[in-house]
Amino acid sequence: MKKITIDPVTRLEGHGKIEIFLNDSGEVANSYFQVPELRGFEKFAEGRPAEEMPQITQRICGVCPEAHHMASSKTLDALFHTEPPSAAKKLRELLYSSFFVTDHATHFYILAGPDFVMGPDAPVAERNILGVIKKVGLELGGAVIKTRMRNHHIIQMLGGRAVHPVFGLPGGVSKGLNADEQKEVQEIARDSLEFAKLSMKVFEDIVLANKAYVDLILSDTFTHKTYYMGLVDEKNRVNFYDGKVRVVDPEGKEYVKFAPADYLKHVAEHVEPWSYIKFPFLKNVGWKGFVDGKDSGILRAAPLARLNAADGMATPLAQEYYQKFYATLGGKPVHHTLATHWARLIEMLYAAERLVELSGDPEITSTDIRKIPTATPDEGVGIVEAPRGTLIHHYITDSRGIIQKANLIVATVFNSAAINMSVKKAAMGLIKPGKEITEGLLNRIEMAWRAYDPCFACATHSISGRSFLEVIIRDSQGNVIKKL
């Protein structure tokens, strides 16, 4: 048996890898998606005051700290039985929309962009952000960087710093916006919206206008029929910050809609001996292994899932593209994993439109931004949509608010079973006996998981000293026979 390892070690300690096992005739026998475990989070949290959790949990991840910060703040609202004033909720959503614009822009241009702009088979030396900028031009490249920086400025304005904001408190936020700051945010919001519109056009020109890419997106190799999950508002429209969790079945029909506090009634976690990461599934459908379809409880989160799980978008332009998305891809739900990139841009447009709405809201400069909790804390669940999918925080405290138990289910974990299936299917579709396994081919397999924008509890930032991607092919004795 031969073994192929795709090891995206961005740092030398390694952060998740894909191993593909071939049988003696060279066909894919199986594949495993593995993530190293960060140890000791529960123990670290136990015994600390719950109010520290928005600061602690956001340090788990250097990529989406704002998502943890927001989920944690909402968990504290529930834990202390307090409801933030309307202006505080709007300020939280404003900061969060700003974050979504930067995060989705980063993924599209820096991670997904190289595959589509340069092409999946382009040489590695060109298939990167520098290559993308050379091709799309300095002006658009500059807009990506500028949009990110200016939205970080909004986060800094409200949270004191651009990374790891100090903002959410039980019952509200620490700081509001004054009239001058509002004006500045409005300007950044308007420019972000223009940037998001331009990005939709870039996607249409580069991806949708290229038949080879559309065929790739629609191909069976990148398709799975699963359940989809996402937060929705009272009209079942996509919402990143608040609402109920809605799950639709592989036919697109609502399967269940539940309040955050009820998540344990609907979600269970399957354990495999070869993985530290757990595999959440729908409890009432059941775990049937790594298979898709209506009888399998495997569900997906992230942009494509959110669009599928909702009935539409809450802002006009995003709604227009939402309709176009389904009209182009053959109706709801869309099961093509690579369509996630398009869904992500529709969400970026929504986030920018929401930023414009919220920054122009007369209530946004209100000073009524905190309701001091008075009830005795006990237990709370908070759910937000992280850019990568649904994120759940759950804390149990004693009557003094000291953490007794903390449980988190992060977005990448929700997608872990689906990622595993997607990689296996892509590998089976692409690796054939006698066909040379090129770097480009392995990159196509990697595209299957890159679409999910997985984040491997990625807290460490040690300097990288070697290739981000290591591919090792081994023979049945474990000897390296080829290195790419």
């Binding site: 961005t10 300690e13 980063t106 490249g141 500059g142 960087i145 930032h461 040690s462």
Partner: protein, 161 residues
């Protein structure tokens, strides 16, 4: 010479915090006013925003090299880091790419860059305390950086072993 000393890492991931701890030590020391001390728990492309506008930058971080001994200090320059342009993850953008990006957009990137990297023992356990070998290296590394800042250049005479 306008100098930035930038500490990187994760403050609650045991030895991953080494770079942050070094700059925390530096903050307590009297230094020339043209020296800026910063710390960030951000990575990847977010670093671009920190680097603009300095003549010289010293980055302090943790590292795990295959044969390294915990607490070993590496003194590197950007050319020592192979330019790996593959972008697999959201933060999967390497340091040489960040510098090149900055230059492409006409940002003033530091002409002189030093990277101090401390070999970490444990970067998978959530915790606020570094392992003993790394804790000792933090003090040595701090002293070396002070020496380098005072000497202007000439790292050799500042090495503590």
């Amino acid at each position: 010479m306008k100098t930035l000393v930038l500490g990187l890492g994760n403050s609650i991931l045991t030895d991953d915090a080494a770079g942050l701890r070094v700059v925390d030590e530096l903050k307590n020391l009297p230094l020339n006013p043209d020296i800026t001390i910063e710390r960030t728990e951000a990575g990847g492309i977010n670093l671009l925003e920190y680097l603009e506008g300095y003549d010289r930058t010293i980055i302090v971080d943790s590292v795990q090299l295959p044969k390294g001994k915990p607490g070993q200090i590496y003194r590197l320059q950007p050319e020592d880091l192979p330019a790996t342009r593959y972008t697999g993850l959201t933060h999967g953008i390497d340091f040489p790419t960040i510098l090149e990006l900055g230059k492409m957009f006409g940002m003033k990137m530091p002409a002189e860059i030093w990277i101090f990297a401390i070999q970490a023992q444990d970067v998978l356990t959530i915790g606020e305390k570094c392992t003993p070998a790394v804790a000792e290296a933090i003090m040595l590394c701090t002293r070396e950086i002070v020496c380098l800042l005072n000497a202007g250049s000439g790292l050799e005479s500042c090495k503590s072993g």
